[in-house]
Amino acid sequence: MSPDAVPILKVNDLLKRFGGFHALDGLTFHVSPGEILGLVGPNGSGKTTAINVISGLYAPDRGDVVFDGVSVGGMASHKLVHRGINRTFQIPKPFLSLTVRENIAVALAYGRAEVTPPSTAELLVDFHLDAVADRPASELNSAQQKMLDLVRALATRPRLLLLDELAAGLNPTELDWIAGRIKTLAKSGMAIIVVEHLMGFIEQITDRVIVMNAGKEIFEGTLAVAVKVPEVIEVFLGGEHAA
């Protein structure tokens, strides 16, 4: 949107090893408030690992994550949440035995202390969970669980939101609707990183994409340009997700 804005997140030369395998191998990028950045690449290219490192599940083996001017690489997840980073999960993991309302209550009580939390009622209505508010999360269908996961993240009022394959498994109507929601969130000033396989969805919502392969960035720019770059095409044709 506004490329001149000061980036809220800067990722610098990230390296993450699992045994001998380099899941991230010198990844560098940044994202600004209000911007929606897409992370794309074949399976195993390091997209989810990048999100996991940024959200504090793994400490990087090298390199740094700078959020809002502060180095946060390797910081505990809950502290990152308190600073304003949050995420959703590829396979959502709501607190199954708690009700939807209680799920949200946890995030409201333990989220960022310095901001006014959103109201539970609003969140429930906005994400179509009001009808099941007092049911245990275990009774939700998978789309509802994804929404609850997103609501849990939003309840902490993040400044940077990482969405890990939020769109997978949603039908076209739901896709359109959620795309609109994400854009609204970005307009409010939130920085959003989207990891997605659905290229149509990526095209619809992102301002910019980073194409990853083998833990490295191989392209940065708009998706429209990316699909014309031979290196990108090769990576995707070689991979299984050529869609």
Binding site: H82, P94, F95
Partner: protein, 306 residues
């Protein structure tokens, strides 16, 4: 009325009042005392297993450590009994801190490691090399503190404390956050919950009440061997009672203790020879047909169980 007050007023207070009155009505005070001890232990298991999902298969370790903490205070420092009970609780917490690294393990691994830890403490305390401190395998005989009435009252105070903790957990976002950690630790941390700290608090609270319980137990019985206070039966009974009623509730473990320990004593009094058999079958039936405890009969219908 907020539910915290309601639960205190309608569950904790009547239960405590009942056990305060019963000794005047029923003469087998030790049976009542053991009921109180198992109420404490079952709620202690509830704190750590019900709210955080760690199955403390060696829960008796804290209990036994508490009993020996009490005994050492009395034998070596001529401490008055109430002070020794306080120390017993602290010994439980100290052991909890020592074993805190076990919280890194999950599922069956934690349960097994915890069992091993309890056995390690037993064999440590019972080692003849420590005879001058713990009396080793030769057993403890405490003089000067024997006072069953006071010990019973002490147990009631500890039960009150334990119920207080559970009522708080059931009615606070702290309790919700613990359950969130139980369901998925990383997801909970992404809700802003400091997973390690929360677990640690629950673990130590659970160790504290078991240590206290061990302390009053030692006070009441006065003469005991390591095998008495480290008997695996304490862990297993407390876990089975809590599960039978239903964990992560206030009433579940209470119902579990009253029914199962009641039946246990009834069988013991009437059909002793098949005691173990009946009890074993009861446990199998519980797991197969009521895995979420008695309270699930109500929650399945959508009723709220405090």
């Amino acid at each position: 009325m907020p539910s915290l007050a309601r639960h205190t007023l309608f569950i904790a207070v009547p239960l405590l009042a009942l056990f305060a009155i019963l000794p005047g009505v029923y003469n087998n005070h030790l049976l009542l005392f053991n009921f109180v001890i198992f109420l404490i232990l079952a709620q202690g298991v509830n704190i750590i297993y019900g709210f955080t999902g760690y199955l403390p298969f060696g829960y008796v370790g804290f209990f036994g450590a508490g009993a020996y903490g009490f005994a050492i205070m009395v034998m070596h420092f001529q401490s008055p009994a109430p002070l020794a009970v306080v120390v017993a609780g602290l010994v439980g917490v100290a052991l909890g801190l020592l074993l805190a690294p076990l919280l890194r393990l999950t599922g069956a691994y934690f349960a097994i490691a915890n069992l091993a830890a309890a056995l390690a403490v037993l064999h440590f305390v019972a080692n003849p090399a420590l005879e001058s401190i713990t009396k080793g395998p030769y057993g403890v005989a405490l003089n000067g503190t024997f006072n069953p009435t006071m010990a019973y009252n002490g147990a009631l105070i500890i039960l009150a404390l334990t119920l207080g903790i559970v009522v708080f957990l059931r009615n606070s976002s702290f309790g919700l956050a613990l359950q969130a950690v139980r369901e998925d630790a990383f997801s909970a941390s992404m809700a802003g919950v400091n997973v390690l700290k929360m677990r640690m608090i629950a673990w130590l609270a659970s160790a504290l009440v078991a240590g206290f319980a061990g302390g009053v137990f030692a006070w009441y019985v006065s003469v005991f061997y390591p095998d008495n206070v480290f008997s695996a039966d304490f862990s297993i009974f407390a876990i089975v009672f809590a599960l039978f009623g239903g964990v992560a509730t206030i009433t579940g473990p209470i119902v579990g203790v009253v029914i199962l320990y009641g039946i246990y004593n009834l069988i013991g009094f009437t059909t002793p020879q098949y005691f173990q058999l009946i009890y074993g079958l009861l446990i199998i039936g519980l797991v197969l047909f009521l895995p979420a405890g008695l309270v699930s009969l109500a929650t399945r219908r959508g009723w709220y169980v405090p």
